[in-house]
């Protein structure tokens, strides 16, 4: 292969990849926004109420996670190494467990065991569980970058623990707080399947309402809900980008005596955080295992088997197809010399990642149904939309960490592009590819909102769980959840393995 041919081939690959992203992933995801231009949407009182519930829940969950998530992140970063691995797995577990399974566990624990009724309180209790890891991970990643001697220097200058946290640490890890808050808020805003189990008729969230509207065929109102949800995600992303660009905080106000008097309270946060973790996260998450243990009877039937085949098949196809396009996309983002173009495509991926999936699914359904595609193909395309960024982001980060000089060295030694890809790049990005694949696979398995918004007849595992709970078949639903827990734990161990290899 001569150099000119290779350059043309690379350009064609980039063109195909970027076209795939724009026309298959991005445009269908935001297609519903065109309804706003055409005026083809309806804002009813019920929809406004659903939006209010959604934003109230997401905001409450974000505030709770800011307090406890930041505290956990702090504890995690300062923790002794021998406990860190154990805590590390614990933080990630709610992310790996499909939210439908979490929803059932929370519903059984708070609803049947403690008689908490369905409604906003239970929705908040559920959402805190699967969003807390986003806050803990984002904040701890930032905290770990802070040089510990800054704290020591501040303490030699007389600052109390609380003053050090506010004036030294917080300005330095604010980016982690902002990212964690954005991910928490948008993930909570997006959640559908599990919310369906714990919401009441009067306290329905907007994504659940979109699914119901789609079932009724009420397109204008579903379009309005989707538009507002998508625009909210965009506004939050823009606000987050703005805040993280602000490098300096005004910290000129000090309250030495007041902050020093709160030192004991600050020290008590470890106990308060531990209690919160056990009572509100661990026990409700794992209650389904106890439930199965007490009520166990194997109830696996053909419908369940079909749901497992559909879900796993869908996730496998989505991950494989996504990976084929994600690698060149990630390479383009990581290696392009024009930083503005790189940032532009990164932002587009962030938008797709943050858009609530029921709105995303509704938009995709509207787009692809014009072409009369099969329901399963539309489902694949919708799952591809929200899993694609999960593949691209870790790959792009991995490629950015590889010095371009390594590829140049290979070139000077006579390697062509194909050889550089297969012998240099692929081995180095393999852990990121595996990690991204695991995240995309589990995300696809877990997804309910987009599936319900796009298809009428296809039953994936989470959709089946929601249906079984609706029919009050708790044992069957509980059994499927137990299988999902076991599967999630295996995937978590695989993910940890690839991270440690990386």
């Amino acid at each position: 292969m001569n150099h000119g041919y290779e350059k043309h081939f690379s350009n064609i690959v980039y063109l195909v990849t970027i076209s795939f992203f724009i026309f298959i992933i991005f445009l269908p995801a935001v297609y519903v926004l065109t309804f706003a231009i055409g005026g083809n949407f309806l804002l009813s009182d019920q929809l406004i109420n659903a939006l209010y519930v959604s934003f109230f829940v997401s905001l409450s969950v974000t505030v709770i996670n800011l307090i406890f998530g930041t505290s956990f992140a702090w504890i995690f970063v300062k923790m002794d190494k021998k406990y860190k691995n154990w805590f590390d797995n614990l933080i990630d577990l709610p992310l790996m467990i499909p939210t439908a399974a979490l929803g059932l566990s929370v519903y059984l624990f708070w609803g049947e065991f403690w008689s908490v009724g369905k409604g906003i309180s239970m929705i908040i209790l559920l959402h805190v569980i699967f969003t807390l890891p986003y806050m803990v991970r984002s904040v701890s990643a930032s905290l770990e970058q802070i040089n510990t001697t800054y704290n020591e220097a501040a303490s030699t200058l007389g600052a109390s623990i609380l003053t050090i946290f506010r004036t030294i640490d917080l300005p330095l890890f604010k980016d982690g707080v902002v990212v964690g808050s954005v991910l928490t808020f948008t993930r909570s805003l997006s959640e559908t399947g599990a919310t369906m189990m714990v919401a009441s008729a009067l306290t329905m969230t907007a994504p659940v309402y979109v699914v119901n509207l789609k079932k009724e065929g009420n397109i204008p109102e579903a379009a309005a809900a989707s538009i507002i949800l998508i625009l909210s995600a965009l506004a939050i992303l823009a606000a987050a980008k703005y805040i993280t660009r602000q490098k300096h905080f005004n910290f000129s106000t000090f309250y030495p005596r007041f902050e020093y008097s709160l030192t004991d309270l600050w020290k008590a946060r470890n106990i308060m955080s531990a209690l919160f973790l056990v009572l509100f996260i661990i026990i409700p998450t794992f209650y389904i295992i106890l439930y199965n243990f007490v009520n166990f009877r194997p109830v696996f039937n053909m419908i369940m088997l079909e749901a497992f085949i559909v879900s796993f098949g869908l996730a496998a196809i989505v991950t494989a197809v996504g990976l084929i396009f994600a690698i060149p996309m990630a390479y383009f983002i990581a290696r392009t010399r024009n930083e503005k173009i790189s940032a532009f495509f990164e932002n587009l991926h962030d938008i797709v990642l943050l858009v609530p999936t029921s709105a995303l699914g509704f938009s995709l359904g509207l787009f692809w149904n014009k072409l009369n595609l099969s329901e399963y193909l539309v489902l694949i395309l919708s799952h591809l939309s929200f899993t694609f960024p999960l593949l691209v982001k870790p790959l792009a980060a991995s490629i950015k960490n590889i010095e371009y000089g390594i590829e140049e060295s290979a070139m000077t030694l006579g390697a062509n592009h194909k050889q550089i890809l297969t012998t240099i790049l692929f081995p180095l990005i393999m852990p990121a590819a595996i990690a991204g694949s695991i995240m995309a696979f589990t995300r696809s398995i877990s997804e309910t909102g987009a599936t319900l918004a796009v298809s009428k007849n296809i039953k994936t595992i989470p959709v089946l769980i929601v249906d079984l709970v609706d029919q009050n078949k708790m044992f069957e639903a509980g059994f499927i959840c137990l299988l999902l827990f076991i599967m999630s734990f295996i995937f978590l161990l695989l993910l940890k393995r690839t991270r440690s290899d990386n």
Binding site: A153, G158, S160, L172, F254
Partner: protein, 176 residues
């Protein structure tokens, strides 16, 4: 300025490196030391002999495994770092990256509630003494190694602490 007295100070660490995990390492073994008022003292020793560990123990950043520390006759062995009022210039300077030179130097006064009207002149005088009075709005990353060290020294002495330590204080200081 009161005397500092160290009595039988010992410090041991447990190794966490893979080839000697769990092994006890003695950094300080029964150190006795008296530092008189109004004196300038230098601790000299080969790299890794425990000089920085000793200073960190006096500053309260490490707890001694054994022994006592007295400051003006009072036992401060278990006193918090914040309460010891000891200036410390760190080996890597540890300037707060999000604060400019002025705020770095005045931080100690601010957190103690001592930064009142009139104190600006004192801060200005200290910065003039270290020849950085024209760089008050610069951030640490905009300064050279020598300038950063001077800011670290200025920060430590701004609080008028009764005792001031520095690890390798003149490493980047160019004679003029």
């Amino acid at each position: 300025m009161p005397n500092i007295e160290l009595r039988n100070i010992s410090k041991t660490f447990t190794s966490i490196s893979e080839d000697s995990r769990g092994k006890i390492i003695t950094a300080l073994d029964n150190v006795n030391l008296k530092i008189k008022k109004n004196t300038y003292n230098t601790l000299l020793g080969p790299s890794g002999c425990g000089k920085t560990t000793l200073l960190r123990i006096i500053a309260g950043l490490e707890k001694p495994t054994d022994g006592k520390i007295y400051f003006g006759g009072s036992d401060i062995t278990n006193a918090e770092t914040q309460k010891r009022n000891i200036g410390f210039v760190f080996q890597n300077y540890s300037l707060f990256p999000h604060m400019d030179v002025w705020h770095n130097v005045s931080y100690g006064l601010m957190v103690r509630g001592k930064y009142k009207k009139g104190k600006e002149n004192e801060i200005h005088d200290i910065l003039k003494m270290v020849k950085l009075d024209d760089r008050t709005t610069a951030y640490p990353k905009e300064l050279s190694g020598g300038m950063q060290q001077r800011v670290a020294v200025a920060r430590a002495i701004a609080t008028k602490s009764q005792l001031c330590f520095s690890t390798n204080p003149w490493a980047h200081w160019m004679p003029e």
